[in-house]
Each structure stands twice: as structure tokens, then as C-alpha cells.
Amino acid sequence: MLKNKDRYLSIILISPSILAVLIFIYGFIGWSIRVSLSNWKGLNPDYTWAGLKNYIGLFSDPRFHVDIRNTLIFTSVFVLGSIILGFLMAVMLDQGLRGEGFFRSLFLFPMAISYIVTGVVWRWLMSSATGSRMSGLNLLFTNLKLDFLVNLWYNTPKWGMAAIALAAIWQMSGYTMALYLAGLRSVPAELKEAAQIDGANEIQLYRHIILPLLAPVTLSALIILGHMSLKVFDLIIAIAGKQLPLDVPSIYMWQTTFDGLFYARGAAIGILLLISVAILIIPYIRYTLKTEDL
């Protein structure tokens, strides 16, 4: 049982964070909700009540439909890709190979580079020009006789977003690797030794002991990558410019608020994003918390 003074101390220590989150996050979300229910269009605030007009408008907005499709494609490719790749890289680097430090820093480095430059380089790499103007990865593939890999990248109709997710995986899987590496390093050596004494091979070791122990790390990674994929904005614009086939809610929100001055509509998009996150994340967290207490 928690001793009284420890309990009070816990509450005291965590309250600055709670206060900060209350004001700077929930307070501002409240402001955003208020704006989304208003008629604010133009530079000066206008809080006159508009009901759910902005939300209803979004549901029949063809651009928003494109946004949702693109978010689903991007999120699934990016999150799955980063987790799988990050985990595999962590496992490989956990084997005590020579040069581990070099590989680790190399795989992390993309995260450090500014999105403007990462974006334009991937734009060049994913050029979909054909014939004499072929360039980028397509040119490389052709020269290496890997013609079957040549494709339209992000100019692919409907699925182009997956190519952008590739660039995002390049940038972020190093971080997922770092998360898993930290997790792997905290698995007690005795557990691994005990399993080996019991006759388990590598695959059984990972499947039955290590992966379950890493479940909280996977949860962290899922949430961090998920939140990034909902917020991704700068990278997409840097690679593909602002174009409708590759639009996502965060770009639509920016454009409609700051370029188009439809503040109420922009706020509604933001709140819809938050609601969709809440629907997905909260049950998952509650389930995880319950299973942890068992």
C-alpha cells in the first residue's frame, strides 16, 4: 500500500505537468472547439454561433475525402514499416557486431536533417519522368537492370501516398530502432540464459520471451509514430508541394486557415483529427492498462 507521504509527494510532483497540460493543451482545445462552432472567416475573430455547420460541410467535402484516404494509406504504411524495420535493425544491432556505433548513428542521422532538404532530395529521387528525362531512383534501377522496380512513386493515382510514407520511414525508423534497442538492452540477461538452458532457439526466444517483454515499447512506438503520421505536414509539402492528390488533413487545415482565412473550418478539421485519434487510442490504452495490472 502506498504510504501517505509518498502519495502526497506523487501528486505534488506530477501537478505542474497536469497544470501545464490542462492550460496549454485542453484549454487551447476548448478554444479550438469554440472556433469550430463559429462563423469565423477572415482575419478578425468572429465567434457567432454556427452550430455543426462546419463539421457537416466537411463530411461532404471531396477534398476532405481525399485527405482521409491519404491519411489511412500513409499511417498504415509508415507505422507498420517503421516498426518492422526499426525492430529488425535493433535486433541486428543487438548482436554485438563490430561497427555497431557507426550503424546506429547512421540510421539515426536522417532524423536530424531538416525537412526542407530531405523533402527535395526525395522529390528528386522519386521523379517519375520517363524516356530521356528519366532520373532519380528510376534511373538507378534501370541502370542496375532492375526495371521491374521502376514506378510512378508518389504520382501513382490513389496510392501515391505510400511513396511519401517511404521517405518518412527513411527519416524515422532510426528512432524506432533506438526505442527497441533501449528496450532490448533492458531485458535481463538471466532470462535469456534461462531460456537457452531450457533449449529454446533464437526464434522461440524472441517470440515467447523478448517480444512480450517489449510490448510497452511497441505501444510507445505505435503511439509516437501514429501521432507523427497524423501531424505530418512539412515533409509532404517539401516532397510534393501543396497538391490535392496528396493532401492530408494537417495541410488542409493550414491552407484553409492561413491561406484561405477560413478559421472555423480549419478548427473543425483539427477537432475531427483529435476525435478520430481519441476513438482509436483511448480504448487501446485502457485495454493495455487493464492487462498490465493483471
Binding site: Y26, W31, Q95, F107, L274
Partner: protein
């Protein structure tokens, strides 16, 4: 034990493939950073530059170096403070369940998802009303908006540590802060590494808050980098040179912190 080491060297094959994947874009960045403006053409992107002149890097350095100090002044306190807060919060939420702590975790966590575009207007208004300006305001914003993610990372890391660790110490009569200081902090190092990497990178590379919360004498390096690109005709050669320069401090942080990815230190304390 012999089974573990059988053929471990074959791992170098996928690792080399990965290295190529990671190096391809960096090769383009490096090579373009050495080209002259007229050489920049989608058709010749793979070609080596005609000559290795450091002009682009020198020019980029001239433009970027005044803002370097601003970046450091802001990023270091922001990273350290938000990491410490995250560690404390994570510890409390993972190991010291009081009434309501299971609600507080999702409460803080949900804050991660707020899109920054939604809040820049009220944020600026709050900062101006409170009279908090410049780099201090920017550091504060990074600390506050970093709390959810640092708390998440630490909380999940601590949740995977066995409860026996703490029980042993409690039986010895240690209270919460002592346990935190003597037992948890030392084994938190891998998690600190991960959190410090994330917070440093996100504070160092952040553009939106930087440009909105600070004035032109206090802009960090990301704004200077963005401004170097220009609005109409962009000189990619200088831009790439500049971005690589701007990424160097972060790379150094990764290399330095990477050394602390140590093997778990749990073995000793459990046996005791």
C-alpha cells in the same frame, strides 16, 4: 551458447543493404552541396560535382552561424527539463499508482495529438498576455509540449521493469525519492538516451514555434535555414550545404549519447 554465434556475420549483408538505403539520399545531399548553381539539374542529380569547392558551405556558415547560439540557448534547457519531467512523471505513473493515476496517464498522453496549427494563435496570445517573450517562451513551449511524449516513453519503459526491484528497496525502508535516485535513475539511462535524442531533435529542428514565438534577433537556426532557401528562386546547393551543417550538432548528440546504450544493469540488483 555456440548456437548464438553461428554464422552471425551473415547479418552484415542486410546491414549493408540498409546502409545503402540510408546513404542514397545523403549522397545526393552531399554531392549537391558541392555543386555550383548552374550544375543543379534533375537530369544530373547523380553526377559528382565538377569540382570540390567549399564555397557553398562557407556561404551557408556565414548565414547560419549567428543563429547557432540561439538554438543552443533554447534547446539545451528545454531538452534537459522536459526529459527530467518525463522521467519523474513516468516513474510516478508506472510504479506509484494512486487514485486517479490511471486516468492521468491518458489525460497527459492525449495532449500529444494536438495539431500545432490549431494552437499557435491562442499560444501567442497567452505568451503575449503573460509577457513571456523570445527564447524563454520558445523553450517553455518545447518543455510543455514535450511533456506528453517524454512521460509516455518513460512510463512505458518503467512499466516493463519488474515490481520486485522496488519491493526489495521498500522492504529496506527506502521512500519514493530515494528509490528514484538510487535505483531507477541508474537503470533509466537507455530510456534517457532515447528521450534526449527525441527532445533535442524536435526542439532543434522545430520551425513553426520558432518562427512564431521569437523575433528576428532571436531566431534559431531552423528559421535562418528556411530563410536561406528564399521564397522564389531556391539555390539548392547552398541549401543542402546549410542543412548538413545544421544537422551536425544533432549528429554529435546522437554519437555522444549512443555510447550510453549500455546493456541492462539489472542483473546485479536482482541478485541482491
Amino acid at each position: 551458447m555456440k548456437r548464438l554465434y553461428l554464422g552471425k556475420n551473415w547479418l552484415y549483408i542486410p546491414l549493408i543493404l540498409l546502409v545503402i538505403f540510408y546513404l542514397l539520399p545523403m549522397y545526393v545531399m552531399l554531392v549537391t552541396g558541392f555543386k555550383s548553381f548552374a550544375e543543379i539539374d534533375l537530369q544530373t542529380m547523380w553526377n559528382l560535382p565538377k569540382g570540390i569547392a567549399f564555397d557553398n558551405y562557407i556561404e551557408a556558415w556565414k548565414v547560419l552561424s549567428p543563429s547557432l547560439k540561439n538554438s543552443f540557448l533554447m534547446v539545451i534547457p528545454a531538452t534537459l527539463i522536459s526529459s527530467m519531467l518525463g522521467s519523474l512523471n513516468g516513474f510516478i505513473l508506472a510504479k506509484w499508482k494512486f487514485r486517479g493515476s490511471d486516468f492521468i496517464f491518458p489525460f497527459i498522453l492525449f495532449g500529444m495529438f494536438i495539431p500545432y496549427q490549431s494552437i499557435i494563435i491562442p499560444l501567442v496570445q497567452f505568451m503575449s498576455a503573460a509577457g513571456i517573450k523570445g527564447l524563454v517562451g520558445l523553450a517553455m513551449a518545447h518543455i510543455i509540449y514535450g511533456i506528453p511524449i517524454t512521460t509516455l516513453t518513460f512510463r512505458n519503459y518503467y512499466a516493463s521493469l519488474p515490481q520486485e526491484l522496488l519491493e526489495a528497496a521498500k522492504i529496506d525502508g527506502a521512500d519514493m525519492l530515494k528509490i528514484y535516485r538510487l535505483i531507477l535513475l541508474p537503470i533509466s539511462i537507455p530510456s534517457f538516451v532515447v528521450v534526449l535524442i527525441w527532445q533535442f531533435t524536435s526542439a532543434w529542428n522545430d520551425f513553426l514555434f520558432a518562427v512564431i514565438l521569437t523575433g528576428n534577433t532571436e531566431w534559431p537556426i531552423t528559421v535562418a535555414l528556411n530563410n536561406m532557401a528564399g521564397s522564389q528562386i531556391i539555390s539548392w546547393n547552398v541549401q543542402m550545404a546549410g542543412s548538413l551543417l545544421a544537422a551536425l550538432p544533432t549528429l554529435l548528440v546522437y554519437i555522444f549519447l549512443g555510447r550510453y546504450f549500455l546493456r541492462g544493469l539489472l542483473a546485479g540488483s536482482l541478485k541482491g
